[in-house]
């Protein structure tokens, strides 16, 4: 069962803002949330205002289509070229990033993205809205990329690489942050500081910082990379990620945790060095 259901989301509120109301069974993972009321234990209602990635004046009919998934799917099913072109602009970058984690080169990844879009127009009529459009898209890409990766013979199937231990075996990264013996065992060697010199938006304005994070992600083992891309960068829910990558919930969480820990470590000198 999905962890949340949208009640009134998405609907276009103020010009240039996306306003949505969600009922959650769990507190939201990321907090774009401005207003959040905890009703009962484990339930909350959140009212979210997100700035749209476009300027208010350019909020065209097409932009509104993106916010209305049913409309988007119908337009694609009807073969609307304008909508298709816009959808490609919205999602191709994300697809490319995910494709690169499966195949060895940019050229092959580009082909995989192309094949994915071909798959989309061939099977959009069968899209049942059991999952979100985005999830469906990622699933098509994953299937194509896996097939392609095997053909390129550099890719190890997910199950295999996980059991070989490139992903969830061995000491975890955070172990080095702790005292390992004596009476202070399990305590921080060097207690972490507060990170709030700058908001993530501002930090990401720096090309160097973006490159650092991209590099950290690229250097992760393939499955960790896929999980962190889907969960954190694309914001896909954990159940859907397990579904897309065909891994277990527990394995997914271990992989995600390792990947996040790694990215935090890479980001750390950048944020601290910048402000002290």
């Amino acid at each position: 069962m999905p962890a949340y259901f949208h009640l009134l989301a998405p609907c276009v509120g103020l010009e240039g803002w996306l306003c949505s109301v969600r009922f959650l069974f769990r507190p939201p993972l990321i907090v774009p949330v401005r207003l959040r009321i905890i009703l009962l234990f484990g339930f909350d209602v959140s009212l979210t205002f997100q700035r749209l990635p476009i300027s208010p004046s350019s909020l065209t009919l097409l932009d509104r289509v993106k916010l209305d998934e049913l409309g988007l799917v119908r337009a694609l099913q009807a073969g609307d070229e304008q909508v298709f072109s816009a959808v490609m602009d919205w999602y191709s970058g994300s697809l490319m990033r995910l494709a690169l984690s499966f195949v060895p080169s940019r050229a092959v990844a580009e082909e995989v993205v192309q094949e994915t879009w071909m798959g989309v127009f061939e099977s959009i009529h069968r899209f049942e809205r059991r999952s979100s459009f985005q999830t469906w898209l990622f699933r098509i890409l994953t299937n194509r990329a896996k097939t392609r990766g095997i053909r390129e013979s550099r890719y190890q199937p997910v199950g295999l690489s996980a059991s070989l231990g490139d992903t969830d075996e061995g000491p975890s990264l955070e172990d080095s942050l702790f005292v390992t013996e004596g009476s202070r065992m399990g305590h921080w060697k060097d207690p972490p500081d507060v990170w709030e010199p700058d908001t993530p938006e501002r930090v990401l304005l720096s090309k160097e910082c973006r490159a650092t994070i991209e590099q950290a992600i690229e250097s992760l083992p393939a499955t960790q990379r896929q999980v962190i891309i889907l969960r954190d960068i694309e914001g896909v829910g954990s159940e859907e990620v397990c579904n897309i990558l065909e891994i277990s919930e527990t394995n997914q969480r271990v992989l995600l945790h390792r990947a996040r820990t790694r990215v935090r470590r890479e980001l750390s000198p950048y944020i601290q060095g910048d402000n002290t």
Binding site: A3, F25, R26, P27, L29, I30, V31, P32, Q77, A78, G79, E81, F84, S85, M88, D89, S92, G93, S94, M96, R97, E110, V113, Q114, W117, M118, F121, E122, H125, R126, S172, E174, D175, L177, F178, S183, R184, G186, H187, W188, P191, P192, D193, V194, W195, P200, L204, R210, I213, E214, I228, I233, G235, R253, H257, R260, V263, R264, L267, S268
Partner: protein, 103 residues
């Protein structure tokens, strides 16, 4: 307060979660997959330990940064090619009808 005593007190109060364990459980915590007992212990530790609070904050900050990481746009030639294929595909089926749903 003597730090050793403070740590002892903390371990007692926090039901034996060490800072290291807290760090390892952060993703489980954020995903809401801790048991109720562990969740309570997690909160108790956080209430007593500024270092772990900061670390949790850093992890949340990392996640938020990732969420806002913009993708590179695809090259124009790839897009042109796709639109071309889209048109060809559309011509082949002038009247798109909803096929029976197979999965």
């Amino acid at each position: 307060m003597d730090t050793n005593l403070k740590h002892k007190l903390m371990r007692y109060m926090a039901g034996n979660f060490s800072c290291q364990e807290i760090a390892q459980l952060i993703t489980d915590y954020l995903d809401g997959s801790l048991t109720l007992g562990d969740r309570v212990r997690f909160h108790m530790h956080l209430g007593l330990c500024f270092a772990c609070r900061n670390y949790l904050g850093q992890m949340k900050y990392t996640i938020e940064t990732l969420r806002q990481l913009p993708p590179d746009p695809i090259p124009q030639h790839v897009k042109e090619e796709l639109l071309e294929r889209f048109r060809t595909w559309k011509q082949r089926q002038p009247q798109p009808s909803v096929k029976p749903e197979i999965e």
